[in-house]
Amino acid sequence: MALLQISEPGQSANPHEHRLAAGIDLGTTNSLVATVRSGKAEPLPDEQGRILLPSVVHYRPDGPPEVGHDALEGATTDPLNTIASVKRFMGRGLEDVRSLGSRLPYEFVETDSAVPRFHTAGGDVSPVEVSAEILKVLRQRAEASLGGELTGVVITVPAYFDDAQRQATKDAARLAGLNVLRLLNEPTAAAVAYGLDKSAEGVIAVYDLGGGTFDISILRLNQGVFEVMATAGDSALGGDDFDRAIAEWIMQQAGIADDAGHHQLRRLMRDARAAKEALTEAERVPLKVELEDGSHWEGELDRETFHRLIDPLIQKTLIPSRRALRDAGVTPEEITAVVMVGGSTRVPRVRERVGEFFGQEPLVDINPDTVVAVGAAIQADILVGNKPDDEMLLLDVIPLSLGLETMGGLVEKIIPRNTTIPVARAQDFTTFKDGQTAMTIHVVQGERELVSDNRSLGRFTLRGIPPMVAGAARIRVTFQVDADGLLSVTAREETTGVQAGIEIKPSYGLTDAEIETMLRDSIEHAEDDVAARKLLEQQVEADRVLEALAVALVQDRDLLSEEERQRIDRAAAHLQAARDGTDHLAIKQALADLDAAAAGFVAKRMDSSIRKALAGHTIEEFADEQESN
């Protein structure tokens, strides 16, 4: 006998047509899934009643990877094969990963691909694949709890996630067999979970300090509608950093060298976290650390020292908070509610400092670990159509400006940050050189002026611009961002009405395997690509010349002697053959040869056309015309 849930009036589904939806908080430290059942949004526990799934995957030489609590054990015993905090690597390149620090206890595969891969006993895996393992477990939990296949999910991402990171998250979901209804900014989801849409108008600050990311969002609530006025944050700051600060303090106190083994570092991090959590209640915690030589160091961490260690980190959250307020154009006094999200907001010192900053007591009554997933579940429930009508319209913003590269490596911003989405913006550009037939559009994201300082999202070339003088062509470039915050860029040549449009997807808009292949190909075939481009350009030129010649021969064949005509025909045939080949240098040579062979013909044509123009006229007429001009 099937188990039924209570529907909204008139929304009962037919048998086998239940629209099952879930919200997933794919966190740096922990992940969880929530759903709406009989109108109530709640996180779903596993068989042991645990709601949080540690975002940890342990790869083994035999058998499938362990995920969550089972994998946590591996973090201490088998650190190299246990991937934690994988969210930090989502959509990042090798360069980014290296800048994340040298203390990462993982081995990265030396590949020529730009996507980092972890080397594990279970094979080499990408961050997208690791995340997919976590999502698979949550999917199984949700489907077992709901008694059927999920129609769709809403997955939350930090407001700071750029396009590549969002797309990587979507790819992970697809790998896990999930249909993503929408990606939702975490702070926005939290505000939804708090049901703030049901309260009066106001300006809400959402302070989200998780294990690995910090986000501050300023939301405006207007007649039940949320508008994200501004977001700021730090994608590499969280409770993990508190743990690290404590671990480093312990290392200092206990005289543990900086080059301690992975094993030791992991254990220290675990001890540090336990100490941090204990300090929420206790004034001081005893510490006992096993050293490499088997002896023990014993010490104590009190609140005062703990505060001294984390105060600089909390301060780092207040700087973006101030920036977000400025971007939103509001003062702390105008904030009507401060919502605390993320496990790290359990630290009393954090609540204290945030309260001081905003001049009011922050809201802490909903479990800060689950609010985001609950908000996502509510949104998912609406999106699959379990509500009579859309009760809530969420407006989101672009976290980082989007633009393109112009001459000199400068960025032209097309969509400034904090623009609400979905949005489409167009701007006209023109050619730089006479007869320019192609234009490369390099899409970048970020706030800096120089392209090299921003994040490159992708590039594409618009070809087939009709040759004309520099500045005459009108190239309309359109940036479009959909409700998920994903970007598409198109370019169109407008002056002549010739349609030439290209659409790009961010590099992560492909399956993981496709991206890998593409990246590897692009590096392996870089030289081929250059050659192909040269060939194409020469072929375009050859076609242009051959066509012009054919027209000229039809018009002025009689100007040529038999011998001249044969020489030109031979050179043209030679060029045609070269054009159909693959050697761009041969085409270039054939073009030069034809140029030489036809030089006499061109001169005669010029003479002839002048004579034709003058025929039947007297010099006087031209003189008159000149006078009258």
Binding site: A2, L3, Q5, P9, P15, D46, E47, R141, S145, L146
Partner: protein
């Protein structure tokens, strides 16, 4: 003629109604659909129509339209768990046969 709720079911319905913040009770019904001909309707009720029958069981109002009542009379609504899954279950004495999934039935 009666429809009842078990204690567990009544408790859950009350909690869900409270969470929802509005509604006069629980509407039970059947509609002609599904692989075995009939399917249950289980909805929050915001209003009671003139022809509706209203029962009260364990402090919860149960609202049924007269046509559905023919197929539901004597039903007891229960709430239970199957593994991780949980939800409402119709114990309906009128049912002769259900489809494999139990979501639709014949009388």
């Amino acid at each position: 003629m009666a429809i009842t709720l078990t204690d567990t079911a009544a408790e859950r319905v009350k909690a869900f109604l409270e969470n929802r913040g509005k509604g006069v009770g629980l509407r039970l019904g059947v509609k002609t659909t599904g692989c075995s001909g009939m399917a249950y309707v289980l909805e929050f009720a915001d209003e009671v129509a003139e022809e509706d029958q209203v029962f009260e069981s364990n402090g919860v109002k149960i609202i049924v339209d007269p046509k559905s009542l023919l197929y539901l009379d004597g039903t007891e609504l229960d709430y239970g768990k199957e593994g991780l899954n949980e939800g409402f279950r119709f114990n309906n004495p009128n049912v002769k046969d259900t489809c494999g999934c139990g979501e639709s039935f014949t009388v």
